[in-house]
């Protein structure tokens, strides 16, 4: 049977093929990535894009949560300060309500309470990075002002009721702020500012002990209300920390999965490269042997 006289050419083509495989393996070794073009593994390439998307989102959320944690902590700390001030005010008022103080002493109590009220208003006007945190969406204007034109004085809220949320990568909404009037209503039974203003007026104008006791109770109710509202912020902080930790942990897992998907298996590639080299050497030897000599050498 006749054979293809150009079999050496075919062997050279095999040699080319081996060299091309070596080139690809070397590229994988040098880049460390098993998938250097989409066609190497189309499914993995698609999956990789989605994994990176999720990793990036987790990463971004962790950074954002770092930013808002500061704001929440400042808000919490401000509310802690308000609670301290109000507790002190209640203590002062309770002491003043025993009916033994003269007008001058009561006026002094009134002044002390006015100082506490101003401190509370200042805390309600707390800002973080130049933005008022209790003004709803109106973060550039001071949310609370006190008008002394009336007796008792009146508090005015200049903000709005907008609540901001931060969304976690899995769609949970974490509340980032409490609009001012949710903590410090300017009027009503839960209004610390109104109760304080009433007490200040009570002691300044010599109101009855009954009235001032009733207003002190109102301040106590308002304090409880503020403590309850503070829980909302504390919850947000807890949820934010948990969500941030979850995102970090998810990112770690996803990065491991993505690395596993994309990273070149070095021992396997080294083995394949070694096999390719052996094959190449063998082919070269065969070509060298077969390429020499023909029947013409024997003709004389």
């Amino acid at each position: 049977m006749r054979v293809d006289p150009f079999y050496v050419t075919n062997l050279a083509a095999s040699l080319d093929q081996t060299q091309s495989t070596e080139q690809q393996l070397t590229a994988e070794l040098s880049s460390g990535a098993a998938i250097n073009s989409l066609s190497d593994n189309p499914v993995a390439a698609g999956e990789n894009a989605l994994l990176l998307n999720q990793i990036q989102r987790d990463d971004s959320f962790t950074q954002s949560s770092g930013l808002v944690q500061g704001q929440l902590q400042v808000a919490d700390s401000a509310m802690g300060g308000v609670v301290t001030q109000l507790t002190q005010a209640i203590s002062i008022a309770t002491g003043a309500n025993n009916g033994t103080l003269n007008t001058s002493q009561l006026q002094s109590i009134s002044n002390q309470l006015a100082g506490i009220r101003d401190e509370v208003v200042s805390l309600a006007n707390t800002s973080y990075q130049g933005q008022y945190i209790f003004g709803g969406s109106q973060t550039s204007a001071m949310p609370f002002t006190i008008s002394s034109s009336t007796t008792p004085s009146t508090a005015t809220y200049n903000g709005d009721q907008v609540v901001n949320y931060l969304e976690t990568p899995n769609g949970q909404r974490i509340q980032l702020n409490l609009p001012g009037t949710q903590i410090f209503p300017t009027s009503g039974s839960d209004s610390a500012l109104q109760a304080l203003n009433n007490l200040i007026a009570d002691y300044a104008n010599g109101a009855s002990v009954q009235t001032s006791t009733s207003d002190t109770e109102a301040l106590n109710t308002a304090l409880n209300f503020i403590s309850q509202q503070r829980v909302t912020l504390d919850n947000s902080l807890t949820r934010l920390t948990a969500a941030s930790n979850a995102a970090t942990s998810e990112k770690t897992q996803l990065t491991a999965a993505q690395t596993n998907l994309m990273q070149a298996d070095l021992p396997q590639i080294s083995t394949q490269l070694s096999l390719c080299e052996s094959q190449q050497t063998a082919l070269e030897d065969v070509i060298a042997q077969l390429g020499s000599g023909s029947l013409f050498d024997k003709l004389s």
Partner: protein, 483 residues
Amino acid sequence: MATISSAFDLIASALDADQSALSIVANNVANANTAGYTREVPNWQENAPIEIDGVSYGTGVTQTGPTSVRDAVLEERLTQQQQLASASSARLTALNALQAVFPPDSGSSSSTAGDIGSDLTGFFDSFSSLEANPTDNALRQQVLSTASTLAGDISNAAANLNSQRSALDQEASSVTGQVNSLINSIAQLNQQIQSTSANSDAGTLEDQRNQDISQLSQLVGINQITTDVNGLSLTTTSGQLLVSGESSQQLTSGVVNGATHFYLGEVDITSQLEIGGGQLGGDLTARDQDIPNALASLDQLAYSVATTVNAQNNAGTDLDGNEGTGTNANGVAGTGSTPLYIFTEPAQITGSALAMSVVMTDPNQIAAASFGNQNGDASNAVLMANLASQMTVQGQTPSNYYAQFVSQLGSTVSEVQNENTAQNASVTQLQTQISSTSSVNLNDEAASLQQFERSYQAASEVFTVLNTVMASALNLGVQTAVS
């Protein structure tokens, strides 16, 4: 009774035949490396016997000329397979260039550069960051910066695809000249073959014709029909006549809507050539299908992202308190007079990718707040960040759409790669079969050379003996008179 002189004639013809056989061997050896050469074998024919006094005597041998050893069926199969392999090879080259525009992002910062998938995530994430502090100028700048990166990368990819398409178009149009030259050559060879070897193998001429057909089949898809008088008709795979005997029809090209179209006479055969095979078929498939498909996906992505993001931003209030002109989810219309667009608003899907750009220059115009709210509100930023997980691009999220796009592109390349490998293997196999039949094997030629040389030597010896016998006869036994 046969005479000595008839024996002289007989052996002289044997010497002639051997000489011509040796010449055929020499020609084979000389053309051992000539592309398309088909080895020839001498054709020995026993001369007609003569009958003298009722006894039949042989009259020697004649070498009637070389015969090319070819298998027409194998050659035609090779032609068919070659046009498929050339088509997939040309398409694969184009697809490899296409997929290089979308390299897989390994996750390292260097590989992220230019990756549209990462750009998309980075862009929508910048709105998530803005939720943390909607008045922060740095976070607002980040939104515009990631928007620019996204728009720039999509636009660059589209420009790259367009230039690849132009390059393919140019490559395809340059094939026309080669095709026409081969068609002319085949028609001329048809004429020569019909006039010289109407009923038999035309040897070298047929080699040339086969070589031309082989080259032509690598350029365009063709069908061949053998006619009587050893002629050949060629059509495109879809049946348009290219060569009929000694007449041929020229392929012409012209530009229609910015793309080269191909004509036979007045008929536009571009779409037929596209599915026909050959390099032209592969180039046209990449030019008219693969690249436009990829561009259409990018256009769709760019259009959906730009319009949905623009619409959402236009349905909010910016840092300066200006409302957009859009209507929000609650049906409330903005009071603004100028739309708050981040991207250039595309008018139609086609061309959106190339034209994608950021039109917003002032980061204050990012409408993080909802209508009616002040600049501390981030509810509209939340809605914009949420666009990342909404089915805004043909029923999929932008990232999923992109992931599916790269996956599909990779699958197409991989599919064509496998197809090409299989077709090349088949071509190699057929070439091996043809080579084993038709190529010059030097060992065979050495053996033939030896054989014909021996045969020539034997005939010479016979001639010498006959000469001696003749001398003896002429001298009637006296050896010195004639020697």
